[in-house]
Symmetry: none
Subunit: 211 residues, 4 copies
DNA sequence: TATGAATGAGCTTTCATTCAT
DNA sequence: AATGAATGAAAGCTCATTCAT
């Protein structure tokens, strides 16, 4: 029946469509409040069909997360051991978040609200992946501390959380205010501002006391 | 008949006990997954009794939030218009988060995961209070920008979100790792570290380029 | 503690107060929807106290009905075997309904809606009393048929139901429209109208064809 | 796949089956005491399925009432403005009640006990329909008064209530006694008796006083 | 593949009733 | 006599999941 390229492609496309619909709905209602009916409706199919492609609701959720983590880890690995600076490695993470936010804001929102900030949906498997990500980021930060790029008077783990917290916050603003990123220029400015505040702080460069 | 001072006290105490139990359960399962049965069980009472004290599950949730916001706003107001610096005002907010974390880590966790980071439970009334808080914080930040204490090249609203994001992140570490704050000393160190990173950034004070 | 006349009087008074309150509430909400709390509130007492005076909700309901039936049967017995005409006997029934409607409209409403017209609350005991009343009325009607006062081409039982139906309807109008009976004059007019239509029908006395 | 004509037919049939089961149960227990479980059991399905066909218990009840009113109003409209006499118009109403009683005694019982005689279930919408019916009947009666067919010394509204009260009473007898109407002959006799008593009254045509 | 009828566990909420005080 | 805290059965409704077609 599949005339596109192969039966497999058609299947993948449908799966993608369901995942997209699920993102929309889960973002709007939260995972537990999102009903299969809603997702099916958003995908324009019957709810029974969802079960042809995904074993269960949890399975569908994991498929969503897989898209996120696969992309993030592959991005991080591209920069690993290539002689780039820790700042650039963190920049790559920021870049991934902003890229994804442009392409799939719902996905970003879900990762932040349902995983980063909530322990409710954290099954042991999901938690393991999440911790893996934090660990990898912490390694980058620690390398930066070793290279005296980042201050060492605060534990790497703390700096990591602050970095990710700031990143999430920034993305949260965009998400909550529904602000689309307009053009490469703005994307650049946001990325810079984020790194800027994280690295240099909120303090005025030229404080009045200095005069 | 009441063992304390008056019948009212006994009632308040029971209400408090239910609220405490609810915090425990909601923290562990999330608001929507927390069942009244669980809460009652945690409080050592029958589920019917919960409805003797609270009109509904939502009502109970609002009672929980009220405890948080009442305390936070009264803290903020103590510092308002008293000639204190913007940094000190932000410090008071940090102080409240850490204080509450020591006394009621579950409450802090709930506020962060169910309110700050989730739009699912945000009824219009709850959102209004949350926005009120952000607005008040933004005013402090804007005042700091006016006094040239904070950098003005980033919108006050952005700085506010970053500040709150960092604060939440920090508290989240404590919460997620289940780390108790040990003594006034550590509490002080955390508060300082937080302000420090927010104000001065993560960059090493003495970067290698300066040699 | 009872200073009125005797402890028993005080008890009876309280019971009456609860019954009155119950009538109010049951009339407004129906028996099953009437909550003990509502009744207690209407009586100005705590709901626990209701159980000092009545064993259960059903018991309270039976006490209400008892007031109605006791009064009705004693009225009917006053006219029995005293040489009065069947019309006068039916008139006595009408009189009781109207009297009670003036004094206790809620009670009348309850008897009509919860007993006469509903089989839901008809426990065997209650049904027996109700059937007793219908039987007694039917006897009056049958006597009227025997005395050629009422038409005999329709079964006594049917005439009885029509009579009671008309009576209930009439009272229902008053009840539904919330019309108080103003003075003895109006009461008389209503009683007459009711008997008039029941006995002589709705047909115009002087039909156009007769002209 | 539908054994009948189309999938829609199958759906309608199931809806009808549920409505029938609901009539049975509601008749026996009253609307508020009728549990969805009972209805489902009576229909031979799981209770969850009831909600597949009806949004809520109230929705199901409204569907029941709709069947009644739709039929009644369409019957009344068939006779409207067709040059028929007021008596014939009232006769049509009687006819509808008796027809329905033969076909669906439970439905008739419900309409009488849950709507005509109880204010408990009267939501504004339901009350509006009921009042509409009374208003239409009153117009017929008023037309009869204008044509000098009905007596004018009693308000049209009163006569209307007495007529409907008598009708309901009569049907109530049948319902309460569980008497089936045997054949067209008996149906005719009942209809005549009803009109007869309403129009000409219960008084013996040839009373003894006349002698 | 695709549909949606069908199921039933599970949740919130209500409320009659009991009972310690 | 009087209160109202406490209990828990029961009911309406939701929704993930299964399955016949």
């Amino acid at each position: 029946m599949a005339q596109n390229r192969s039966g497999n492609d058609v299947k993948k496309e449908k799966e993608s469509a369901i995942i997209d619909a699920a993102c929309q709905v889960i973002r709007a209602k939260g995972f537990h409040q999102a009903r299969i009916t809603d997702i099916a409706q958003a995908a324009g199919i019957s709810y029974g069909l969802v079960y042809h492609y995904f074993k269960s609701k949890a399975d569908l959720f994991d498929a969503i997360l897989k898209e996120w983590w696969t992309g993030l880890f592959s991005t991080m690995e591209q920069f690993q051991n290539r002689g780039v600076s820790p700042e650039e490695e963190l920049d790559a993470i920021v870049g991934y978040f902003l890229d994804q936010y442009e392409k799939r804001p719902d996905l970003v929102h879900i990762v932040i609200t349902e995983i980063s900030r909530s322990s409710v949906n954290l099954t042991p498997d999901r938690l393991a992946v999440f911790k893996d990500f934090i660990g990898r980021t912490e390694k980058i930060v620690a390398r930066g501390q070793g290279a005296r790029v980042f201050r060492s008077d605060i534990r790497a783990r703390y700096l990591t959380f602050i970095f990710l917290g700031a990143l999430e916050s920034f993305v949260s603003i965009l998400v909550l205010e529904g602000r689309p990123i307009k053009g490469r220029g703005e994307r650049q400015r946001i990325a810079v501002a984020l790194q800027e505040v994280f690295l240099n702080g909120a303090k005025a460069v030229d404080p009045p006391t200095r005069q």
